[in-house]
Structure formats: C-alpha cells, structure tokens
C-alpha cells in the first residue's frame, strides 16, 4: 500500500466482505507517445465502499479528472485494474453538460430512454427525479432559462436517472457562487443518504471536501499519487462554516500546501 495513513485514517475498506463500489488496484496512467510518456497517475490503489462518500482532493496536475475518466470507462489505464461491480457509473461534470436542444425534463428522459426504461414510464420518472432535486416545475424549461445552480440540479437528476449506485462528480459545483454551492451541498448529502449512493467526488476545494466526504483522499501532483487520507468523523448534517469542518480543513490545507511546495523545489 502506498497510502500514508494517519491517526484519523481507517483501513476498514479492505476488511469488509461486501464488494466495493469501485476498486482501483495499482492503477497507472501515462499520456504521450511510447518513449516519451508523461505519467499522470502513479500506483493509485483506492476502494470506495458501497454507500460511501469519498472526496478526492488535489492541486492542479494531480490527475483528478483523468482518474474519474478511467472509472467512468471513458479511458483505459496504462496498467493496473479498475473494478466497478455495479456497471457503468453516472458522471457529473463541472459544466452541466445538459443538451440545449432538449428541455430539462427531456434531458432526464433521454437518460432513462438510453437505460431502456419503457416510454410510458419515462415522463413520471423524470418528474419524480426533478422533484427529488426540488425542481418540480422545471420539466418544460429550456436549459438556458435555468440558473447555474438549477442546471447542476437537473444534471444531478439526469445522473440519477441512470440508476447507477455509483456517482462520479468532477468538481460539479466549482463554477457556482458560495451560497448556491452551499445549497447544493445540502441537496447532495440529502440525496446521497436517501438513495444510498456511493460517491466519488473530485474537488480542489478543501472545505468542500470536508463538508461532504466521509473520507478525504489527498492526491499529490505530477504524477498523481495517494499522498494521505483522512476519515471525516464529523456527523452530518454539517455546515461549511462549522468549527470542526474548519479545523480539519486547516490541517488538510497545510498538507496540500506542503505537496504543492515540493514541486517548487526542483
């Protein structure tokens, strides 16, 4: 194991009998031509347990997005294995990635259709999912008529429409203002606990990671390695301004700064 475990950490993931939601085993990923390859991810070993909320944290160049692409099956690792026992995971991007030629409801229905849901069940199911993200009245709205936060909620509803137990999130709230982000943190934790999802959430925002995650995994940069991880024992519901969230954030930020500083030295 390459993890540097701290007193906050847990190794429970490897002791559990139930299959993990994701298992990354010694995953390497390099880009570039043979002979001149650039390692992006180096020996990543990581499990996400069913129902677990894991935040991947790192500075730029740590290969966070590459890692999510690998788990989503959009790219293949150079070596190592990735197991996703539950099948194709749902993926949410920093940009909402909703299709502008469809209404909010139709975007959700397209995901249902591609999953094979029969025609007559799609509309009520899409409405239920929009209701779940508190956008009951937005079925017929065009994407450009929605605010940034509403678009991300529709994108979440569309991701949930895939009915995958694993949700991958690639800095989905990075482009939102603080108050909207706070509201969406709340919605996400609510839906996560109701739907018993496993979430792998990539962010560069330490506070966000601590606010959301049960476990925070810090990646080093160039190449991305698991530098350290923390189990976050602060009970939900948390608020981003909670003192406990702030304290752990300070500790993790210090560690992240150390990681970044190392790159300036050579």
């Amino acid at each position: 194991m390459t993890r540097a475990l701290t007193d906050h950490s847990t190794t429970a993931a490897t002791e559990d009998d139930t299959p993990p939601a994701v298992r990354l085993d010694h995953v390497h990923k390099s880009f570039g031509r043979p002979g001149a390859t650039q390692p992006v991810l180096d020996d990543i070993t990581l499990d996400v347990r069913p129902g677990e909320f894991v935040c991947l944290l790192g500075a730029s160049g740590c290969g966070k997005s590459t890692l999510l692409n690998l788990v989503a099956g959009l790219d293949r690792p150079t070596s190592g294995t990735i197991e996703v026992p539950g099948g194709r995971p749902a993926l949410m991007f920093q940009e909402h990635a909703l299709f502008p030629w469809l209404t909010a409801g139709r975007n959700v229905e397209l995901a249902l259709r591609l999953r094979g849901v029969p025609r007559q069940e799609r509309r009520p199911e899409a409405e239920r999912l929009l209701e779940l993200v508190r956008l009951g009245g937005a079925y017929g709205k065009r994407v450009h008529e929605l605010s940034g936060g509403m678009r991300q909620r529709v994108a979440l509803a569309r991701a949930l429409a895939q009915d995958s137990k694993l949700l991958l999130m690639d800095e989905p709230f990075a482009a939102l203002d603080a108050i909207t982000r706070d509201v969406l943190h709340h919605e996400l934790t609510r839906i996560w606990s109701e739907a018993r999802l496993s979430v792998l959430f990539v962010t560069h925002n330490v506070r966000e990671a601590v606010r959301l995650g049960q476990r925070v995994v810090l990646l080093s940069s160039r190449p991305g390695r698991v530098a350290r991880e923390w189990a976050v024992g602060i009970p939900q519901p948390r608020r981003i301004e909670d003192a406990a969230v702030a304290d752990l954030s300070v500790e993790i930020t210090e560690e992240l700064r150390g990681e970044i500083r190392r790159h300036g030295q050579h």
Partner: protein, 303 residues
C-alpha cells in the same frame, strides 16, 4: 473535530435547516432564472419591418429621380411605372404565377435532391477520416466554383433538358449542404459527446440522440446556403440553356426580355428572382433557424 467514528450518519435535513435551505433555494432559483420575454408587436414592426420598407422606398425614390433627371435614355432606365405595367401585363395574361412556379418547383425539387445526397455525404466526410481526407478539400473547393461554370458541361452531357438544370443545381447545392453538416459536426462541443457516452449513447444511438441534434445549427446554415446556391445555379442554367420545350421559367423570361430589348421586363425579371429568393428564405429557412437557435438560447427572444 475529526475522529475515526463514521457511523453516526444522520439524514442531512436537520432541524431548522431543511426549511431554511428550501426557502433559500427557492429565492436563488427565482433570482437567477433567465426570464424569456417576447418583444411587443409594435416594437417588432418598428425595428424589423420599418427599416427594410424604408430602404425599398429610398431605392424607388432614387430611381425615379434618375429617370426624371434624364441621366440615361428610357430604353436603358425605364420609369418604375413601366416595370409595374410589365408586372400588371403578366398578371392580366395569367402567366405570372406559371412563370414563377416553373422556376420555384424546379429549384425546390433540385434542392430536395441535393438535400438527399448532401446529408449522407456530409455525415461520411465528417465521421470517416479517409473520406474526409479524400473529399474534404474537393467539397470546399467546389463551394467556391460558380455553378454557372457547369452549365456548358451539363448541356453537352444532357442536352438542353430539365436534367441539365437539375445537374447544375445539384453541383451547386450539394457541396454547401455537405459542408454545412461537416462544420456543424466539427463544432459540436466534445463535452456533449462525453456526456452522451456516459449516458450510454454510443454508435448509432449516439449519432441520433447527441451528434445530429448538436450539429443542427450548422446543418441549417448549410441548408440555407444550399438553397441560395440552388436558386442561383438554376437561374444561370435557365438563362443560358433556354429552350421553348422547357416551359417558361424566370430565367427564360429574363432571356426573352433581353432578346426583345424590353428593359422594363428585364428589370421585372431581376426583381422577381430576387423576390423569390428572399421569400423562400423568409418563409422556410429563417423561421427554422430562428426556432432552433431560440430553443438553445443562442438567439435573443423576439427576434
């Protein structure tokens, strides 16, 4: 503080928090939503209809002034009323719509054929690398070749027939339509394709549900240009390859007027050709384009 205990997860909607946040959320949604409003009718009239009408009136006034000033003899620049008389004459003889319809039906039929050929061709060029390398430059080159250059070849191959007309239309319009689709597909944001793939839209389903709808604005721009090319090519073909057997279209009407040195009818012919080109664009393509763009929030409402 951080601890190793992760078992005390409770549902997130804690006391006093859910209600607060729901209210906050409703407020944010209301504040941030983009309101789509329609422009009032009188404003459309003032901003959209009035300026072009004024421009036409201005052209007529300048024309009339030039005629009154006798800058050039009558047979070169007739009075606007003489053109009006030519139009009335066609109307009274009952041939006006026959002439227009002969050309318009040819143009539309040729355009539809160009659509049926250009669309699969564009898809092939956009998606198959070898086809793109082979045909891409040729298609772009053909677009800049004036299709009137094809008329002599078409006449030798096919004689002065309807087939020659359609051949010239196709050679003019197919490259535009195909190129429009290619650039439409090239401009599809990669994010949509990634999002489509994570949703399971791959292969033919990906093309149908994601790629083609995403490429639609570029495709429609290509169709618009394709129509303009069809119409221009047809007029060129009708002018050059006119024969009594083919029925009287606008091009032939114009050519006959030239032979008779009937300047009012020549001007009328030009005006009618222009009118048909603009009318088809206004009736068919502009509403289509506007609808597609407005649905995507790419054009201001009320335009």
């Amino acid at each position: 503080m951080a601890s190793t205990d992760t078992s005390t997860q409770t549902p997130a909607a804690g006391p006093g928090q859910g209600g607060d946040l729901a209210g906050l959320e409703a407020g944010l949604d209301a504040l941030d939503s983009v309101r789509v409003e329609r422009t009032p009718f009188t404003q459309v009239l003032l901003q959209k209809v009035l300026p072009p009408v004024l421009a036409v009136v201005l052209v007529l006034v300048v024309w009339k002034v030039l005629v009154l000033a006798h800058v050039t003899p009558d047979y070169k620049l007739p009075d606007p009323s003489a053109v009006w008389d030519s139009l009335r004459d066609l109307w009274l003889r009952g041939t006006l719509f026959d002439i227009i319809w002969t050309s318009v039906s040819r143009g539309l039929l040729g355009f539809l054929a160009a659509l049926a050929i250009g669309t699969p061709l564009g898809l092939l060029v956009a998606r198959v690398r070898f086809v793109r390398a082979a045909l891409g430059p040729l298609l772009s080159g053909l677009q800049s070749l004036p299709s009137v250059a094809w008329v002599p070849a078409a006449v030798i191959w096919l004689g002065i027939t309807d087939s020659a007309m359609y051949a010239v239309i196709l050679l003019g319009a197919v490259p535009s339509i195909a190129n429009g689709l290619v650039s439409g597909i090239d401009q599809v944001p990669p994010l949509y394709l990634r999002a489509g793939r994570t949703l399971g839209a791959t292969g033919a389903r990906g093309a149908w549900h994601v790629l083609l709808p995403a490429a639609l604005p570029g495709y429609i721009a290509g169709l618009k240009q394709g129509w303009a090319f069809s119409w221009r090519s047809l007029m060129a073909a009708e002018l050059i390859a006119s024969s009594p057997d083919l029925g009287l279209g606008l091009g032939q009407y114009l050519e006959n007027a030239r032979t008779d040195s009937d300047m009012p009818s020549v001007l009328l012919g030009i005006i009618l050709i222009l009118f048909v080109g603009i009318a088809i664009d206004l009736i068919v393509f502009s509403p289509l384009e506007r609808r597609v763009l407005r649905n995507r929030g790419l054009a201001p409402a009320g335009r």
